[in-house]
């Protein structure tokens, strides 16, 4: 096979260093993407998947939709989700207790203070510590450090002006951790104020 014109072997795998042929059979694209996403350690953008598979982004989208539909069936224990601007495979919620029994994850939930700070940053980014503190009415150095440590926020440059304060913004990990594909998925801020606040 080594000298063949086709980039794909019988098993559908491209040889190293050679671009796969454009005419990858559609019935191979779905398992190919499944395999790539299975091995991935972070969400993979459609553009990247298209590069890897050597097909168009439209073809990838179509194949992912098919894969997603197939995995939704009860016969499968994983599902395909769009998070942080890419796709990633996740175990289904129903099996969480079993995964926990296996991995015994030491996840600690964020404190109310950290969540509040994170919410403010998510909606008002990029934002300085001073501005966050003005909203919360308390010092936030500790919570900001917590969020930085957990890579949920990052420093996003500095604001021009006195002291050139550091600006903070959320990270892709924030999106993933909260199951969001995009910041736009957050409900508009008005939805929180509309209820009984406006009447008072």
């Amino acid at each position: 096979m080594s000298g063949g014109a086709s980039g794909f072997t019988e098993a559908g795998a491209p040889r190293p260093g050679q671009l796969p042929v454009p005419g990858l059979p559609p019935n191979r694209l779905v398992p190919l993407l499944e395999a790539v996403l299975f091995a991935a350690t972070e969400p993979v953008p459609v553009r990247r998947l298209a590069e890897i598979a050597g097909v168009s982004e439209g073809q990838v989208e179509a194949a992912l939709a098919e894969l997603r539909g197939r995995l939704e069936e009860p016969a499968h224990g994983v599902e395909l989700l769009r998070v942080a601007g890419g796709y990633r495979l996740f175990t289904k919620k129903a099996y969480a207790p079993y995964i926990e029994a296996l991995l015994q994850p030491e996840r600690t939930q964020l404190s109310p203070a950290a969540l509040e700070t994170l919410a403010i940053i998510a909606y008002k980014q990029p934002i300085t510590r001073g501005e966050i503190e003005a909203i919360r009415g308390v010092q936030c150095d500790h919570t900001i450090k917590t969020l930085l440590d957990r890579q949920l926020i990052r420093e996003a440059g500095r604001r021009d002006g006195p002291g050139r304060p550091i600006l903070y913004a959320t990270t892709p990990l924030f999106l993933e951790r909260f199951g969001l594909s995009d910041l736009k998925e957050l409900p508009p801020p008005e939805s929180f104020l509309a209820r009984d606040g406006g009447a008072g």
Partner: protein
């Protein structure tokens, strides 16, 4: 599995102590939200008693939860602020607030309400994030744990971590220190000898400012001053000031001065 039942997870709401006061019972946070939204009159809230109860609660905990304690402090401060504003009579010359349904309480009240509403909106957003987080926590991603889990679980930083952090900063500060030390190591004892020699060379008399001539570092200033104080204590020099706020002169007490204590 319900989000609240997840092991190793502390529910945010349940950490708030229950407050038992007339007209002000249940979770402190819930009641505070009612005050913020105007459902509960801030003037009716016995802040002092609430503070005492929560302090009691904090003391009864085996470990001091800094996160909880600071959050509580902020909450009480805002409650106090709201109540104070409600108690202070509104100024008559202030422009009457627009026909809001709420009670007009002066110009500042409107801004306060505005601020509290904004804050409350973010509190609700935080609640939403909590639900998102709980939901997503039940899905385990391909390729294993998230990178963030490798880092310190800094959510519950305790005294030990704080001390360790301080230690690092202190060591870093100490490491910088040698840059300020001149080639000759500075000690109070050596500076005392220097001072006596300088006084002898100047016929036993120097002004205070002359001791700090040149551009001494802060360290030099401190060492020189301590040396001078020690010489005074030992009775080897005498300080004199002719006029108030005037120049201080230093006179060497030669001979018997060294033995006198």
């Amino acid at each position: 599995m319900q989000p609240g039942e997840t092991p190793a997870v502390r529910s945010g709401e349940s950490r708030w102590p229950e407050v038992r006061l007339p007209g002000f019972e249940g979770s402190l946070e819930t009641r505070f939200q009612q005050v913020e939204s105007g459902a509960l009159d801030a003037r009716a809230v016995p802040v002092g008693a609430a503070v005492r109860q929560v302090l009691e609660h904090l003391r009864s905990e085996r470990e001091l939860d800094l996160e909880q304690a600071t959050a509580f402090l902020g909450l009480m401060a805002r409650l106090l602020d709201t109540k104070t504003r409600a108690l202070v009579p509104s100024e008559p010359e202030a422009a009457p607030p627009p026909a809001d349904a709420g009670e007009p309480e002066g110009a500042g009240a409107e801004e306060l309400v505005e601020r509290l509403l904004a804050y409350r909106a973010f509190k609700e957003a935080a609640g939403l994030l909590r639900r998102y987080e709980a939901e997503q926590a039940q899905r385990f991603p391909s390729g294993g744990a998230e990178p963030a889990e490798h880092t310190l679980r800094s959510d519950d930083v305790g005294l030990e971590e704080l001390l360790a952090a301080f230690q690092r900063i202190w060591e870093r500060a100490s490491a910088l220190e040698p840059r300020e030390i001149p080639r000759e190591r500075l000690t109070v004892a050596k500076r005392m000898v220097d001072l006596v020699e300088a006084l002898r060379a100047a016929d036993g008399h120097l002004t205070f400012t002359a001791l700090f001539a040149g551009e001494p570092s802060r360290r030099e200033v401190v060492v020189t001053f301590l040396a001078l104080l020690e010489l005074v204590r030992q009775g080897r020099v005498r300080l004199r000031q002719e006029v108030a706020f005037g120049e201080i002169s230093i006179r060497l007490e030669e001979g018997d001065g060294g033995e006198r204590r």
